[in-house]
């Protein structure tokens, strides 16, 4: 169990993490999603007691990380930067960590076996490939058989086989009842791995919801319409109750009105249509929409209505996340 309350981190004038509150529960994979620079790694470093929060707090199993009596026995982490001395062998790397937390040598051998590095355990870690280095990081995270695990972009640089291995590992760990918190900037990856999502943008919480819910919302459909008279059509559709966004390419993105109804409104008012097509946003689109908005929303002062209009193409996503944003 991880609990963040009002977690904030400032680096000079940069606000990397902004008043973030969330819980990560055991028995499921919780995806930590956000675009580059949104504060995922910073949040994870604060959870692990490496960076000091500027405000707020975060606890693991109810305690600050620094207060855990045997931290590796409760929490394991694979953080962004490789935390391995290239001149040390994989075995010695794990052994010097194990010694600090009273973990026996047999466990070092076991995790090396588990991640498939047993044969190269005596080789210098500097000679390892990216994938092998990532596995060594995994081994370090699993060393103390912890109930809480954090992984910062664990599939970065891995080949498809490695990605599948990580995915199964994470799911397996969650199935054993552990708390698994994994960051990514790829929605598609999280859709396959995670059960729950914590989405941030610019350090702020945007959404905290089950993956299924996110998928259901983001697979909402919308309609694209093209007309030589886009302004008039938009006006008519709005008065018919639709939400309309004029795209830069001249098309209109219409939500809140079925495609047939859009056609009928056009026909009734004798507006020529050049295109009328159903659209389905991909998960990745939905995620980008969500996080881009958070960027825009914070970048300039817009009204809630304007922000809502930008949200329109992904329909119901506006409801939940926006209420968070508008807080």
């Amino acid at each position: 169990m991880i609990e963040a309350r009002g977690l904030t981190k400032r680096y000079g004038t940069t606000v990397a993490v902004d008043d973030l509150s969330f819980e990560v529960r055991p028995g499921q994979v919780t995806g930590f999603l956000g675009p580059n620079g949104s504060g995922k790694s910073t949040t994870m470093r604060m959870i692990m007691g490496l960076d000091h929060p500027s405000a707020g707090s975060v606890t693991v199993n109810g305690r600050r990380y620094g207060d855990l009596p045997r931290p590796l026995r409760e929490v394991g982490a694979l953080l962004e930067a490789k935390a391995i001395h290239p001149g040390r062998s994989a075995y010695n790397h794990l052994w010097c960590l194990a010694q600090t937390n009273g973990i026996p040598r047999s466990r070092v051998d076991a995790v090396l076996e588990l991640v498939g590095l047993a044969d190269v355990a005596r080789r210098r870690a500097g000679a390892f490939s990216l994938g092998m280095g990532q596995r060594l990081g995994m081994a370090a995270a699993l060393l103390g058989d912890p109930g809480v695990l954090l992984f910062d972009e664990p599939v970065n640089g891995l080949d498809p086989e490695g990605i599948r291995w990580v995915r199964n590992l994470l799911k397996g760990l969650a199935a054993e009842g552990r708390t698994v918190f994994v960051s990514s900037h790829l929605m598609s990856e999280m859709a396959l791995t995670a059960d729950h999502l914590v989405v941030i943008g610019r350090g702020r919480l945007i959404a905290d919801l089950p993956v299924q819910e996110f998928i259901a919302q983001s697979s909402r459909q919308y309609v694209r319409a093209r007309s030589p008279e886009p302004a008039r059509l938009a006006e008519l559709l709005r008065s018919a109750g639709a939400t309309v966004v004029a795209e830069t390419d001249g098309s209109l993105t219409v939500t809140g009105l079925a495609m047939a109804d859009v056609g009928e409104v056009a026909a009734r008012n004798q507006v020529v249509l050049h295109e009328l097509s159903p659209q389905a946003g991909s998960l990745e689109d939905a995620f980008m929409e969500l996080t881009n908005d958070s960027v825009e929303y914070r970048g300039d002062v817009t009204t809630d209505a304007a922000a809502a209009a930008r949200h329109a193409p992904v329909g119901a996503l506006t409801t939940d996340p926006l209420s968070d944003l508008a807080r």
Binding site: R45, M48, G49, L50, D51, H52, Y65, G66, P69, R70, P71, L72, R73, E74, V75, L79, A81, K82, A83, I84, H85, G87, R88, S89, N92, H93, C96, L97, Q99, T100, N101, G102, P104, S106, R107, D109, A110, E113, L114, V115, G116, L117, A118, D119, V120, S129, G131, M132, R135, A140, L142, G144, D145, W165, N168, L169, K171, G172, L173, E176
Partner: protein
């Protein structure tokens, strides 16, 4: 292409169950871990080998040269000839080796990101720095004593009659040999403190070398009276007094100088400890 075996298909973290966690982080465990770290990287072996070569090798060369040039020495030179000091001249060069090792003990962790793994395993930061200091200090002291004794014995064996040579029983000789070893260890701890403050290998080495070698040059620019007062406080002056068996003018007494070095090291290490706790890793 990789030489790894395929990863275990069953991702059971419980494959080898651990007995339930008991106890808490203990200083002994952290000391053991730091000892494993120190002896499991090659840079330790290289630095210590450099330390030995510098101390013993350079000492031997300087003593051998003195032995061969004895005939050309003036009477004054012969009377002031200090065979102990000659054989310990290599310690001047050894300062760089012990300094680099002391710096690497901590900066290599920052350079590689290992510090994050270290602090994740042991979030009690003062404990981490204390353990590093203790383990490195102990290793530095043992190795430095071994090499200063070796330099002394090798050097003396190269001095052939009529050139006088020293024995450990003569006044000030044992003090010079033992004291030089302690000096090196203390200097290494000073360097470790610098490394912890600066956190970058190259930067820390620059500052260390600056404190050791550049400060005397800067001091040269001052009037003689100022030089005389201040140069006593320089590490090199302390070392000069330590390797000599005879009292020298314009220096602190050997043990006083060493105490001064210990104060420098302590100040830097305490400052490093305070920042270590405060800063983000």
């Amino acid at each position: 292409m990789t030489t790894t075996t395929p990863p275990n298909a069953v991702p059971a973290g419980t494959a080898v169950p651990l007995s339930p966690a008991t106890g808490r982080l203990s200083p002994v465990d952290v000391l053991r871990s730091e000892w494993t770290k120190l002896r499991s990287v090659r840079s330790t072996v290289w630095s210590l080998a450099a330390l030995a070569v510098a101390t013993v090798g350079l000492g031997a060369i300087i003593t051998a040269v003195s032995n061969n040039r004895w005939r050309t020495f003036t009477l004054v030179e012969r009377l002031s000839f200090d065979p102990t000091s000659r054989s310990l001249r290599g310690v001047f060069l050894a300062q760089l080796a012990i300094g680099v090792l002391g710096i690497l003990v901590i900066t290599s962790e920052y350079g590689t990101g290992m510090i994050r793994a270290t602090l994740t395993a042991v979030p009690r930061r003062p404990l981490v720095l204390a353990a590093k200091t203790a383990v490195f200090g102990a290793v530095a002291l043992v190795v430095s004593e071994v090499v200063t004794f070796a330099a002394f014995f090798v050097g003396q064996s190269l001095l052939k009659s009529p050139v006088p040579h020293a024995t450990l029983g003569q006044p000030g000789v044992a003090r010079a040999v033992v004291g030089s070893g302690i000096y090196l260890a203390v200097l290494g701890l000073f360097a470790l403190g610098i490394g912890s403050l600066i956190r970058h290998t190259a930067g820390a080495i620059s500052i260390f070398v600056g404190a050791l070698l550049i400060l005397p040059l800067i001091l040269n620019a001052f009037p003689a009276s100022v030089q005389q007062t201040l140069s006593k406080f320089l590490p090199l002056t302390v070392l000069q007094a330590m390797i000599s068996t005879q009292p020298r003018p314009d220096t602190f007494a050997p043990w006083t100088g060493l105490g001064l070095m210990a104060i420098y090291a302590a100040v830097v290490l305490v400052a490093a400890g305070v920042l270590f706790v405060r800063r983000d890793a």
